[in-house]
Each structure stands twice: as structure tokens, then as C-alpha cells.
């Protein structure tokens, strides 16, 4: 997705790195939820959880406990709606 936006020149390199850094911080919560689902239901659930429930939970976690992080990205010209 990021490569597509970069190729189409819809975002610049610095903006792409910002978006990448944001999603990197959602990984710990997301992967923890995925790991639980793998333990309960097997590896078939990993991908579904990773792009679905796990991702939503990690965004929810950010919304509750790391809300000011969005201001950092907003100051780098990336509004919240582009990250969620």
C-alpha cells in the first residue's frame, strides 16, 4: 500500500516513513492478540486476526493510552484519518 502511494507520488518518502513508524508501533498489541488466537484456533486464524480484530484492538489501545501520539504525526502533516 505504502509502495503504491509512493509510486503514484501521493505521499513523499518522509511521510511514508512516518506512516510505517506508526504501524510498527501497533504491532506489539496486534501480534499478542494474534498469538493468543493461534494458540486457541491454530495458524489458520493468524492472518484474519492480524488484519481484523488484532489491528482494531491495537488502534483501540492507541486511542485509549497513546492518544497524543497522533499529534506528533499530525504535526508531520499526517492526520489521524490517514492512519486509521
Amino acid at each position: 500500500m505504502l509502495l503504491f502511494l509512493l509510486k503514484k507520488k501521493l505521499i513523499n518518502g518522509q511521510k511514508a516513513i512516518n506512516i510505517f513508524e506508526f504501524f510498527k508501533t501497533t504491532l506489539p498489541v496486534n501480534l499478542a492478540i494474534c498469538a493468543i488466537s493461534v494458540l486457541i484456533g491454530g495458524f489458520d486464524y493468524f492472518f484474519i486476526m492480524f488484519v481484523g480484530f488484532g489491528f482494531l484492538m491495537s488502534i483501540g489501545f492507541k486511542e485509549l493510552y497513546r492518544k497524543n501520539d497522533y499529534l506528533f504525526y499530525a504535526n508531520n502533516s499526517i492526520p489521524k484519518w490517514q492512519l486509521c
Binding site: 516513513i17 512516518n18 508501533t25 497524543n68 497522533y70 499529534l71 499530525a74 504535526n75 508531520n76 502533516s77
Partner: protein, 241 residues
């Protein structure tokens, strides 16, 4: 109408007259909490080269107003224009920078990473030529003192590509020398930006601002003279003016 005492401002502004000036206009903001009208009759105009000092008692709505302008708090009838063009939340972030009153840089980053994410490559050298930045460059954000962190945040907001900057309590946690450094930094970026500043350290706000606005009882009062701060009940006496 200049309240400040910074030297050479006139020659400084004349030199930069050929740079394009931008105008930020804020209008129609109304917000209420628990049925009580917090802000109404808001009109604010800020141009490049201008520092608006926004003062008001605790809970008067200064921070809320800045949040509304930046778009992190919604207000139904707000109208924000930049150079006469009406802006919505989606196309505004690249034109306005905002310093939150609390920390906004995530703790897990290093200073180096934050600078690379926020500052344009062309500005990087200029940004890093600073003793304070050099001394913290290799540190992680969570290892910085509150003063160092505040200084970094202010510098990042002032050096980004926005045309206007909203500073909410920039002097929080800064010692007197750092306050002077921050004031110098604000003034040196004035040729490119318009600035709205609010802080309870009113002496420094008065020192650097060239237009004063007081929020009282939900309304904005554009002040012509400093003594009006006493008349309008923001200060008890004029000893410190």
C-alpha cells in the same frame, strides 16, 4: 501595536517584506461544556510575522480554542480560512503546527529518529546546529529531562513546513535561560510563520507578542494596551506590566 521589546524588529520585517505573507482567520467558533457556553464570538486573525498572545484564566478555553483551530476538537460552526480559502480538518494539517501543552512526541523514539521524521532534509543542518540539540541528539526521548523535551518539541513545531504555529504553554518546565532561548527561536522563525501563543507565564507572552487577546466569560477581547489586563480582571495590579 507592539507590546514586545525585541530589538530590530522593524528592520528585520522590512528585509523580509518580499516573502509571501499568509493570513489565518478563525471565526464562528462556539463550544459549550455541560450546558455552559465556554466560547462564543470568536474572531482571530493572525498574519505571517505576527505573534498573538492569548491570555485568560484557568478553564477559560484557551487550549480548547487552539485544539479547535488545529482540528483535534470539533466545533460545529467553525470557519477557518488561510489566505481567504476555507479549510476543513482534512487539508489543514500541513499548514498549521500545534504544540500541545503536554508531551506529544512518543517515548519510544530516539531524538535522532524524531528529527529525521519531522524535519525536512534541507532544514536538517540548520536544525542540528544548536548546542542543546547536539547534546541530546543520541538520547532516547524517555531519557530527556522535561526542559530538554519541551525545547525539542518547540523547535520541531517551529521548523516544520507549516505557515502558522499554535503554542500551548510552551514555557512549561523551562528554566529562565531556556525561556530566553525559546523566545529567540520563536522570533527567528517569525519571517516564515504566524504564531499564536498562550501561557500562564504572562510576562514572557507580553514580551514577545505584538497583539494581545484576552478570553473572558467565553468572549474574546482584543486588547490595545497592557493595562486593560488589570481593567478586565486578569491581573490584580499593574506592578508587573
Amino acid at each position: 501595536m507592539f507590546y514586545g521589546c525585541y530589538c530590530g524588529f522593524d528592520s528585520f520585517s522590512n528585509k523580509k517584506d518580499n516573502l509571501k505573507k499568509h493570513i489565518l482567520e478563525v471565526d464562528g467558533i462556539q463550544i459549550s461544556y455541560n450546558g455552559k457556553l465556554l466560547l462564543s464570538d470568536v474572531y482571530l486573525k493572525c498574519e505571517t510575522n505576527e505573534i498573538i498572545g492569548l491570555l485568560g484564566r484557568n478553564g477559560s478555553g484557551k487550549s480548547t480554542l487552539l485544539k479547535i483551530i488545529f482540528g483535534v476538537v470539533t466545533s460545529p460552526n467553525k470557519c477557518i480560512r488561510i489566505d481567504g480559502i476555507s479549510k476543513n480538518n482534512k487539508n489543514m494539517f500541513s499548514e498549521i503546527g500545534y504544540l500541545h501543552q503536554n508531551q506529544f512526541i512518543p517515548n519510544h523514539f530516539s531524538v535522532k529518529k524524531v528529527i529525521s521524521l519531522s524535519i525536512d532534509k534541507k532544514e536538517m543542518k540548520d536544525f542540528c546546529e544548536d548546542k542543546m540539540i547536539e547534546s541530546i541528539f543520541e538520547k532516547r526521548i524517555k531519557c530527556l529531562s522535561s526542559g530538554e523535551l519541551r525545547y525539542l518539541e518547540i523547535k520541531i513545531v517551529l521548523f516544520n513546513s507549516s505557515k502558522f504555529v499554535l503554542l500551548d504553554e510552551p514555557y512549561n518546565g523551562l528554566d529562565p535561560l531556556m525561556i530566553d532561548m525559546v523566545n529567540e527561536m520563536i522570533l527567528s522563525n517569525l519571517d516564515k510563520k504566524g504564531i499564536v501563543i498562550t501561557d500562564h507565564n504572562y510576562e514572557n507572552v507580553l514580551k514577545i507578542s505584538n497583539h494581545l487577546v484576552l478570553i473572558k466569560d467565553g468572549k474574546m477581547h482584543h486588547l490595545k494596551e497592557k493595562k486593560e489586563l488589570v481593567e478586565k480582571g486578569y491581573l490584580l495590579n499593574s506592578t508587573f506590566l
